[in-house]
């Protein structure tokens, strides 16, 4: 294992100490409890929006804490759900009296730990709602699985939901817009290489020089299909076709097209994918109204890409364009 770390067991705490040192203007960080809170929380009368999940997906979620996005994030150990104590502390810290929304990626551990935290927060008199994000079309047969995973759509849900909460919308409205994003967003990812969890010391799975894994999640878990390596254009087609068929996206739709790097992919390659994505969507009469290209929800050093499409309407465009000021996303300020 070759990593820029000190000791494997210290990576999350030291990362949080670094974030605290880098962004004192935006964040309050508790490296022991592992909670990242927006500097000016709680804000009176504003719905608190929090998320959390295993570490190793940076900048998700901690890099999205700040004005116009999340009020707090709870990072767990690498690829491991955080624990209810963290979510409970975060919920209390961001409660401005208007309730708190938990945005939860659909993984068994995340869902169970957030459920426990929500029960504890309700017992303390805080109104908590939860929205589960499950946008991964690679998981085909939901009846026989833990359900579709939450992947790239989570980034878009956090941005749009946070923007509405910033306008002091009610908990009902904030919850509704988060559900609307989830209902209109679909994603699919692939890997060229595996990744190594620091405490495990070796790659989570083996992938041959001329192989790729289609339909991966974001935890280095193997995907559904292993295929011979193909060209960027062919891979883009393999990822976008099931996305388009699933919602389905139709001629005349306006979309936000999000091409996400898994952590070890050059931006050059992400743009090569975006180029082909643009061609495929143009051929189908689908307009890319907004775009996002870069590493926003990663799997440590994995090389690979995920594509996310969100069908937009005027409300979602307006909220996407609203000002945001976080360590990883910043515009309009």
């Amino acid at each position: 294992m070759k990593k820029l770390i000190n000791r494997p067991e210290d990576v999350v705490r030291e990362e949080l100490e670094g974030m605290a040192a880098a962004h004192p203007d935006l964040l309050r960080v508790d490296p022991e409890l592992q909670v990242i809170i927006r500097k000016d929380a709680p804000i009176e009368g504003k719905v608190g929006v929090i998320s959390g999940g295993g570490s190793g997906h940076e900048p998700l979620h901690g890099g999205f804490v700040g004005m116009g996005m999340l009020d707090a994030a709870c990072p767990g150990a690498v690829f491991t759900s955080p624990v209810p104590d963290q979510m409970l502390e975060a919920t209390k810290a961001v409660n401005g009296g208007a309730g708190v929304l938990h945005i939860v990626k659909n993984y068994t551990g995340d869902v169970m730990n957030f459920e426990l935290a929500a029960e504890l927060a309700q017992a303390e008199g805080i109104e908590v709602r939860s929205v589960i994000i499950n946008d991964d079309v690679a998981v085909q047969d939901s009846l026989y699985t833990a359900g579709r995973r939450g992947v790239g759509g989570t980034v878009l849900a956090e941005k749009i939901t946070g923007a509405l909460a910033e306008r002091k919308a009610s908990l009902d409205e904030v919850e509704a817009v988060c559900r609307k994003v989830n209902e209109n967003v679909r994603s699919m990812g692939m890997a060229l290489t595996s990744c190594t969890v620091p405490t495990a010391g070796k790659p989570t799975f083996e992938l041959g020089e001329n192989e790729m894994e289609i339909g991966i999640g974001i935890h280095g878990e193997p995907g559904r299909q292993r295929l011979p390596l193909a060209s960027a254009d062919e891979i883009t087609e393999m990822l976008v076709t099931p996305i388009l068929e699933d919602l389905p996206f139709r001629r005349g739709d306006q979309v936000l097209a999000f091409v996400n790097g898994m952590g070890g992919t050059p931006l050059m390659e992400l743009y090569i994918v975006f180029r082909q994505l643009h061609r495929i969507l143009s051929d189908r009469g689908i307009t890319i109204a907004r775009s996002l290209v870069g590493d926003y929800i990663t799997s440590l050093e994995m090389a690979g890409v995920s594509i996310t499409l969100l069908r937009l309407d005027d409300q979602l465009i307006d909220l996407w364009d609203a000002p945001v000021h976080t360590p990883a996303l910043r515009w309009g300020v």
Binding site: A77, D141, A200
Partner: protein, 213 residues
Amino acid sequence: MGNSDAITLEILRRITEVMRENAEELTRLDSAIGDGDHGTNMARGFNAVLPKVEAMAGQPPSALLKTTATTLISTVGGAAGPLYGTAFLRAATALDGKNDIDERDVLAAFEAALEGIKARGKASPGEKTMVDALTPAVDALRAAVEQGQDLSTALDHAAAAARTGMEATIPMLATKGRASYLGERSIGHQDPGATSSYLIVQAIADVVRENSG
């Protein structure tokens, strides 16, 4: 069973030891069909449990198990934290107010723990999970207790059944948890959760046997 509190503490020590020893193996199993962290997470959880329960000398078994539960929920993360946390919490409730635990109490605690895991995980047997090791273990324990076997023998039967149940997860298709995303590719791998469940039942049986007679 006299010294129920001391034996409970010894069981928790043994489980901690076993989780440390098997951390790498559990993680290896989890890498094949999950995300490669089960061993690390279980070892971290019980490493946090041990100093807390060591400081509780003289308290009843239910108190020790309750502290184990809340500590696992606070430190393990993933799905295993809430699942094992719920299991130990339900076992603690089943043993509430009992200082001298007999085989019927142990059976009640095991039954409550299994029901807790099934409810929290919305899981049933045959889905390649902890439930596949624990269900046969509880069935074997119940049968042995009803036949009038002593606790140590009954727990040996339970551990043997847990082992068989764990091995039976190898050909299963996972339909719960992260392994389910693999579909057919989950077949041929032993489930890490069923493995840690077997290890816990075996540790309990070992300590009770060493302290009996």
